[in-house]
Assembly symmetry: C3
């Protein structure tokens, strides 16, 4: 099933509108291309809604948000809702500042999201259950472990029910859930956290997957998360002891580029609860 | 001749002012350095014209334009015209939104460009001959093929005549023309389209070439287009089957860095019509 | 001693707030991660001071400044001063435009900096001793050589005294000084100047070092400068003759990622005057 999700991205080559931060935007564009979709970035009020209209899906990432881009997020999000396009929210750094928390919450209020992807601290902040955030990273206190996994799953399903979105909480263990069903994913490599923007990249790629698979949102998100995590494993195997996080970044995108549906099916490590 | 164009970039090391999008800006800066020139990026109204004045040439790229940067494009463009500096226009996504189409057309009205470089859909949009655009990529319907090549050449020459600029339409087949003479270039590799911003990079590098070769604009643009395309071939030969678009991006810039005038002369594949 | 400085970055993993240009921001984030710290970028007035407050140190880089980000620089800088956080200034392109020169000078007036890092032309501009700037690069006329080294050292110490900041002038020869003591550093490789943003990267990394070593600012800056320069040497040794500036960029960040305190102690080349 996951392989089919990837195949559909390659077959449909959806055009993805990204309103995203300037830190990781180049990697986001290249990973969208690597998985087989096509990116466009546009964040001015004067064109945001119009660009959304010619695209298949919308990725809203609030990293390095500013007052100009915030209004574009709302304009594009509403247009996407109007047209029935899938919309993803990446609440980067929600909890780190009032501006980020309030913007993320207001986006949630006014726009219907198909998927919300963040780290555990960001998602807890959105759910107003007191997550703390260490800048743009999850706080250690919030960490998902085998011990608290069941309660995190219950929390995730409840938030999915409340928002109507598929929720993806990513970290050492990833949880992807709708109101009924949760996938626990154990792909990836710890070194991925020493690259800036693997989360942003995953959000951009996930938007491509849900856009190419409109009738299987939950499975599409799972496929994207497994693709990223498994690419992180494949890429890590290529590293020599002189390589570091910069080469690793390139190798992960390369691994997505070379990912086949068969390899993904074989490499994906998940269980359903 | 093409080798001499590259040699002059390395010899003169022109300073190039880039008002460009934040998606591919880092690659633009690195490829300008790779070819032997020096980049500066500055897009605030408060300094745009002044920065242009200390540079040799100006590259205006409308990707991720916003109301702040648009006014800087006009200020810098007019200053460059006043000083007789070469100016290049890259109308990224013209046709994809009213804002981009109108901005590109207004720039064309108010500023004299030395060179305009885009994909076939963007250039058709500028010429108001009904190009369609798929986001920032050329639309399949507009594709330049051996069958429609003669008519595209005629169109390109006519637009060059109308605008007074050298026109570069790049894609699988590249056409570079002034009113009298067209170069048809067949360098490059299909995989270049899976990297974000090879077009933006080419525009930035082309600005360096036309700035370093003020009396040979047409040949300078041809040299830049051949350098990019041939670098794409050289870089592709280096790829292993585990490498993908991210490593390819690095290898192309590396290949420009290592390009010699002799290699360029040997590798360039073009005909004149 | 230098090794301990690096060790402390890895141990404390300080969170660094960067208000920096969009050209080299991704590399800045990745090198901050490579040295063991954690980056966050935020430049909107609505959150700048608040983000600073949750971080340990602040890096202000004026490349691609605009009227929105300039006010954030002041807000964040003042908050950092209030909280006693270390603040670094990278006056990118000071001297190239009135806006940059005036912004840098006003920042110096209103904010107390812990460290100022730039090329010789930028630092001379700050000191109002008539430096010239070639865009964002040092002007040849200003170049630090063995012949003028003593007078540059005297100038650096004097500026350190005047500003109360550790001054780092980097180039082929690096000078790092407070009012009393100057380190002359001879690490690095000439090819580093063909990568965009090695200076910006160094500034971001230096902020991590001074934040993790609050009682040893001078030595922390020296350690950061030596780390960057020695990483440039280590990375250069890895390059094949087909590699260029893009691969070199990745290898330098990789070398920082793999730098050990022992290797740094052994590789650092400096004298004290």
């Amino acid at each position: 099933m996951l392989g089919t999700m990837l195949e559909n991205v390659r077959k449909n080559c959806p055009l993805i509108h990204n309103i995203t931060n300037y830190v990781t935007v180049n990697d986001c564009a290249n990973i969208v291309l690597a998985c087989g979709a096509s990116p466009i970035m546009a964040d001015d009020e004067g064109e945001a809604a119009e660009i959304t209209a010619i695209c298949g899906g919308l990725n809203i990432n609030i990293g390095t948000l500013n007052h100009n881009t915030i209004s574009s997020m709302f304009l594009a999000g509403k247009k996407a809702n109007e047209l029935g396009h899938p919309v993803l929210l990446d609440p980067v750094g929600a909890g780190a500042s009032k501006l980020r928390t309030e913007t993320a919450c207001k986006l949630l209020d006014e726009i219907k999201f198909t998927c919300i992807r963040g780290n555990i601290s960001e998602i807890k902040t959105l759910a107003s259950v007191g997550g703390t955030t260490k800048g743009v990273d999850a706080d250690a206190a919030d960490k998902v472990t085998e011990d608290n996994l069941d309660s995190v799953i219950a929390f995730t399903k409840k938030l999915a029910e409340k928002t109507g979105a598929v929720i993806a909480i990513t970290g050492a263990i990833d949880i992807v859930a709708d109101a009924e069903k949760a996938y626990i994913i154990r792909n990836g490599h710890p070194m991925m956290s020493s690259i800036t923007g693997t989360g942003c990249q995953l959000s951009a790629m996930t938007t491509a997957f849900i856009t190419a698979n409109p009738d299987h949102t939950l499975e599409a998100v799972v496929a994207a998360v497994c693709t990223m995590g498994y690419a992180g494993e494949v890429a890590h195997e290529r590293l020599s002891d002189k390589d570091g996080n910069s080469t690793y970044r390139n190798c992960i995108i390369d691994a997505v580029y070379n990912m086949t549906p068969e390899a993904l099916e074989k490499g994906a490590k998940y269980e359903v609860r």
